[in-house]
């Protein structure tokens, strides 16, 4: 098939959000808070670990701080310039009493006293993790539900009134939605999938025991996680709302100039956010297969800082040349392209070594490699010769200095390697069975850091020694999605479940979990090492927002 390279003009400036340019325009004294206060409740007195968020009227930017052990909190003017703000809190079990708006003048510190009262709707405040902790049932019964958070919260399930019989057709229907579906944009698959009837019945029967099909309210106690304490309260979180609720930021990364780029899981755009001004741009690229689900998953830079996107059900790879601001599209050729074709991952990091870019073919459990000179794809079957009944799924990718590929076997429990020269594969089973390794990064010392999604662990694989280390994450039912090792050797991780960001020191075993202000579905995580302390970035895949988390230590 003739190579199709589509060069596209940029569609830029679709939406420009409120600039944060007032940053330095304020008369406020440096170091003096613009807003300070204390959080108390009748029963508890001063409350530690309450998230206090302020959003300026008309601005897409929300700033959050956390109250200390005396219940005190403060905002700096460089984070919250003068103006009118709405105010909200997050503290599981509580809600804010009284007015929620505050006007901040520039010439003095505004003081507020936030009084909390017990909430009457605790269920509305639970994270997915807390629902998983609360629901009765065996781990075998709960385990299938960890897939549901790809598209929606568990709250949606437990609040439903379907009985087992009503659930069955619903499950069959949802199984034929693409994984790049959100509540704001549901996308049916084109290639239909059959579902074994006994599995549907089993899951449907369980769901009917945890929801409101037979009872007016939940008969099991709702368990909650403790509020942040100590070090976990010393943080500032910035949320940048994106201009459409359909935008589903999946992979988020900073470039060399500090611009934040993201892949959109359901739409044919590459997004860019200027965190200094709040300016938001989107770059459009074409739909290759009309009628098929749209959107991209992995976004990775090549050696020149160009962005590569894995085009999912559109079948192929897109390269965004950051210099010319144009896309090059590499479609999967017709003879390899089926209705089930799906590229979720791309690894162009070492393509300058041999002119090859790695990707995957999810529908065939195989690896593909693009030759940049010819536009041809070659296929690798890393599990050829192993039992067919065993499900594999090459997922998170990394490449070493010779462009040998390392992949996460998300369907099973292995790290795999494909030799760039011979195509031979090496499989390394993780110490924990059924771990389902998800996304990964390779550090400068030749260590792969990765999240073991189903094992609730983060892990390291030393490429030279061919050995593993694994660590339990502190909170059960976190199901970590990805990890990032920062310049200090600390590991950061996010989750689709817990609304918490994990910071973990593998040398001491110490960890901090930062609670986020909203329900936050995190996929790829990124740490900007250019500042001290470092800054953590991720997308809220179901919340149309980009999140920056700055620890104060």
């Amino acid at each position: 098939m003739r190579l199709r390279i589509l060069a596209l003009a940029v569609i830029g400036g679709l939406a420009v959000v409120d600039a944060q340019s007032q940053f330095n325009a304020v008369g406020a004294q440096v170091g003096v808070p613009i807003l300070a206060g204390q959080v108390t409740s009748v029963g508890d007195g001063p409350m530690e670990g309450v998230l206090v968020s302020v959003q300026k009227a008309g601005s897409p930017i929300t700033i959050t701080v956390v109250s200390d052990e005396h219940g005190r909190f403060s905002f700096r003017p460089e984070k919250a310039p003068p103006g009118q703000y709405s105010l909200r809190i997050r503290a599981v079990g509580y809600e804010l009493e009284g007015p929620h708006d505050v006007v901040l003048p520039s010439d003095r510190t505004t003081s507020v006293h936030l009084k909390l009262r017990k909430t009457e709707d605790l269920a509305a405040q639970l994270t997915n993790t807390e629902w998983f902790m609360s629901m009765p049932g065996t781990s075998e019964q709960k385990r299938p539900l960890i897939e549901c958070m790809s598209c929606h919260t568990i709250e949606r399930i437990v609040r439903s009134k379907h009985n087992a019989e009503e659930f069955a057709p619903l499950l069959r229907r949802m199984a034929n939605y693409a994984n790049n579906s959100t509540m704001a944009r549901v996308q049916p698959r084109v290639a239909e999938r059959e579902i074994p009837e006994d599995r549907v019945r089993k899951v449907a029967a369980y769901l009917a025991t945890i929801n409101l099909s037979a009872v007016p309210t939940w008969q099991y106690p709702l368990k909650t996680l403790p509020r942040p304490k100590g070090r976990a309260t010393r943080v500032v979180i910035t949320e940048y709302d994106l201009p459409r609720e359909t935008i589903a930021p999946h992979d988020v990364r900073a470039d060399r100039d500090g611009m934040i780029w993201y892949s959109n899981f359901v739409e044919q755009f590459l997004g860019r956010l200027d965190p200094r001004t709040g300016e938001h741009l989107e770059y459009a690229f074409p739909t290759l297969k009309p009628g098929f689900p749209t959107g991209t998953l992995a976004m990775e830079p090549d050696g020149d800082g160009n962005w590569w996107l894995a085009m999912m059900f559109q079948g192929g790879l897109a390269k965004f040349d950051t210099r010319t601001q144009k896309f090059l599209i590499f479609p999967i050729p017709a003879e390899m392209n089926t209705d089930a074709t799906q590229q979720s991952m791309v690894m162009p990091r070492q393509s300058h070594v041999d002119g090859k870019v790695w990707t995957n073919e999810v529908s065939k459990q195989s690896i593909l490699r693009l030759d940049l000179a010819t536009g041809k794809f070659e296929s690798f079957e890393p599990f050829a010769g192993t039992p067919k009944s065993r499900m594999h799924s090459p997922y998170g990718l990394a490449a070493d200095a010779e462009n040998n590929l390392f992949f996460m076997d998300f369907g099973d429990e292995n790290i795999g390697r494909v030799d760039a020269k011979t195509g031979a594969s090496t499989i390394y089973p993780t110490p924990t069975p059924n771990s389902r390794p998800r996304r990964t990064m390779l550090d400068s010392q030749g260590r792969l850091w990765f999240a073991e999604f189903a094992a609730n662990k983060v892990a390291m694989f030393d490429i030279k020694k061919e050995t593993f280390k694994e660590w339990d994450v502190p909170t059960p039912h976190t199901y970590p999605y990805d990890v990032f090792l920062d310049k200090n050797g600390e590991l950061w991780s996010g989750s689709m479940f817990s609304d918490r960001v994990l910071r973990f020191d593998p040398t001491t075993g110490q960890s901090v979990e930062y609670l986020l202000p909203r329900q936050t579905n995190i996929r790829r995580v990124f740490v900007d090492d250019s500042t001290t302390p470092v800054a953590f970035w991720a997308g809220n895949n179901h919340g149309a927002a980009i999140i920056k988390l700055e620890p104060l230590d």
Binding site: E147, A191, G385, R390, E466
Partner: protein, 131 residues
């Protein structure tokens, strides 16, 4: 093109966790499969021992099949497990070796004869000799 699923595949998969259909489907950009249970799957296991019969922990164990290698390490008790092999391989399609610094391999001993279609794990011990 519809995604075809063979009856045999479905039968084999029925014991697994939530299956959204196929041996090659995907959710979350990866898999739909949630298989907590690999008990029916064939695997190789055994011990790495020295020539005195004492177990050797943290030795590298390599299983080779055609163009693929599976690599693991023996645990603190000298035991290893290689979970994803067929049990019906012909002898010349399969090789198991072990290594550790300060040792050379002395031999392997298959304790369980591979039987086609068997669910029984195959036990192979690997012996190292001090250099």
């Amino acid at each position: 093109m519809k995604h075809a699923v063979g009856a045999t595949d479905l039968a084999a998969l029925a014991v697994l966790g939530l299956i959204w259909g196929a041996p090659s489907p995907a959710m979350a950009g990866g898999t739909s499969l949630d298989d907590d249970d690999h008990h029916d799957q064939p695997y190789y296991f055994g011990f790495v021992k020295d020539t005195n019969g004492d177990t050797v922990p943290n030795a590298k164990v390599t299983a080779k099949i055609k163009n693929m290698a599976i690599i693991t390490h023996s645990d603190i008790l000298g035991a290893y497990k290689i979970p994803i092999f067929n049990t019906d391989l012909k002898p010349d399609e399969f090789g198991l070796s072990c290594s550790k610094e300060g040792y050379r391999q002395a031999g392997t001993f298959m304790r369980t004869a591979p039987v086609s279609d068997a669910k029984v794990p195959i036990e192979i011990d690997c012996t190292l000799q001090r250099e």
